[in-house]
Amino acid sequence: MEAVFLAFVLMLSIFLGFELISKVPATLHTPLMSASNAISGITVVGALISAGNGISTVSTILGALAVVFAMINVVGGYMVTNRMLGMFKKKVDPNAKGGKA
């Protein structure tokens, strides 16, 4: 029964995802992709549970490795997205050569 419930959640989420993303302007495709890439690092939650539930030494080590890789994905993904989005802001940069026309 739980499987059915989870499948239900899955179905709704997919439809929601389609609705959310379908009208994003081309300019934002890269940040969007990189942000959703960071979100896919949600697998870190699974990794934390595997690394911390103490079922066996091997599974703990596998979980810890999973935490490492998921954290690279999460931290790197969000920071890179933030850096990119920072460029889209109209900024007054004293170091920039030449002024805006």
Partner: protein, 453 residues
């Protein structure tokens, strides 16, 4: 913390992910959207740590510090021009994590058949995402050749690998022991399949591959979510999966090809285009300057070559000089220019090009015949008129920016070599085309110097 409280935390996180993604859809709110989604991640992590299931913390803390440090360092150091490679690496990293989570879940006693199937799926999708992203990284970073690698028995080999994956998954589900040889066979074949899936795809198709792998990493997280009964993984994974698929579709449409065509036929491997004969007409920087100086409308068409030459800053400088000179300046951006969706927009934004000067293909094409000078900077396939005229061309039917309709076209190019797709470009031999040979950055800098003197 009880399971109910943890799940309430997950609901809050899911809501924030959804709102964050929605805000990422508009330039005005995108930064906040990203922040909200980062908060969602933090909430999900914190409530998980408070979960009663977790009894030891040493490994978690160690792993989290190492991973966060690597991610932080990589994100700080990466050049904007190498963003596609970096996104591919991050993506592969997430895939590997899902594989490991699936693997670790096998140690759980009393897994039901349904859970075992999802474990096999998370190992499979995670593995394909990891090795596929890694190959995409290698191609983008030019560690390996970007051209499509195709060999005769490819389909047969792929079918065999796929068969092997099915067989090993079935045996793993029947005998779910962590020492089962089928586990290792499944991991190995999944990794191999990721490699095989990406090598036949050429450099110019990379925007499609990157979006698709992004989608896979979401689906891998989804499968891992089923394997450990965690609904936040399923929700967030499905959102990513759906968004990746939409981007993939947009990219395919921009190339007028089906996804199957992109995935299974290496670019240029199906048909051979009619040979283009003709003589290219080179131009010097001084002559190019004289034409630009008298132009009243100039449009720049950037491509991957601009990223390679790091020319975005000098291009912006030239654009400003032209504007001061009274010309109307635009930047025409093809949806698949560059190596990831929106690649050129990011680079030009980095160089402070005003947002309103960026125009999309469908907006610029109708008025192309009124443009005095179109300057093609390191773009090739996206301006190749063969896509309109030559039915035998592998890129026939792909919508292009019709620079050949402009009064004059400058093509900045290192040499006469063909583009990533390996297709000849009749544009170079056009009546109104002038070739400005040399490194794009130096050529543009030369023009800027002419303007200033």
């Amino acid at each position: 913390m009880s399971a109910e409280l943890v799940n309430i935390g997950y609901i809050v996180a899911a809501a924030l992910f959804i709102v964050g993604l929605r805000m990422l859809g508009s330039p005005a709110t995108a930064v906040r959207g990203n922040t909200w989604s980062a908060w969602a991640m933090l909430i999900a992590i914190v409530v998980t740590l408070l979960d009663r299931q977790i009894i030891t913390f040493e490994w978690i803390i160690g792993g989290a510090i190492v991973g966060a440090a690597i991610g932080w360092w990589a994100a700080k150091k990466v050049e904007m021009t190498s963003m596609p490679e970096m996104v591919a690496l991050f993506n592969g990293s997430g895939g590997l994590s899902s594989l490991l989570v699936g693997w670790a879940a096998l140690y759980e006693p009393n897994n039901t058949l349904f859970i075992l199937i999802t474990i096999a799926l998370s190992i499979l999708i995670g593995g394909v995402t990891f090795s596929g992203s890694f190959i995409a990284f290698a191609k983008l970073a030019e560690v390996m050749p970007g051209k499509a690698i195709v060999f005769g028995a490819q389909r047969l080999v792929n079918a065999l690998i796929l068969g092997g994956i099915v067989v090993s998954s079935v045996f793993l589900c029947l005998d779910p022991s962590v020492t089962s040889v089928w586990l290792y066979v499944l991991i190995g074949l999944s990794l191999l399949f990721g490699v095989m899936a990406v090598i036949p795809i050429g450099g110019a198709d990379m925007p499609v591959v990157i979006s698709l792998l992004n989608s896979y990493s979401g689906l891998a997280a989804c499968a891992a979510g089923f394997a450990i009964h965690n609904n936040i993984l399923i929700i967030a994974g499905a959102l990513v999966g759906a968004s990746g698929i939409i981007l993939t579709q947009i990219m395919c449409k921009a190339m007028n090809r089906s996804l199957a065509n992109v995935l299974f036929s290496g670019f240029g491997s199906v048909k051979t285009a009619s040979k283009v004969e003709g003589e290219a007409k080179p131009i010097t920087a001084e002559d190019a300057f004289l034409i630009l100086e008298s132009a009243s409308s100039v449009t720049f068409v950037p491509g991957y070559g601009m990223a390679v030459a790091q020319a975005q800053h000098v291009v912006r400088e030239l654009g400003e000089l032209l504007e001061k000179n009274g010309a109307e300046v635009t930047y025409a951006i093809h949806p698949v220019a560059g190596r990831m969706p929106g690649h050129m927009n990011v680079l030009l934004a980095e160089a402070n090009v005003p947002y309103d000067q960026l125009v999309e293909m469908d907006d610029i094409n109708p008025r192309m015949s009124n443009i005095d000078v179109a300057v093609v900077i390191g773009a090739n396939d996206v301006v190749n008129p063969a896509a309109r005229n030559d039915e035998n061309s592998p890129i026939y039917g792909m919508p292009i920016i019709n620079v050949d309709h402009a009064r004059t076209v400058f093509v900045l190019k290192r040499s006469m070599a063909s583009g990533f797709s390996g297709v000849d470009n009749p544009l170079f031999f056009g009546e109104n085309t002038r070739m400005l040979f040399g490194d794009a950055k130096q050529s543009i800098a030369g023009l800027v110097a002419e303007f200033k003197s």
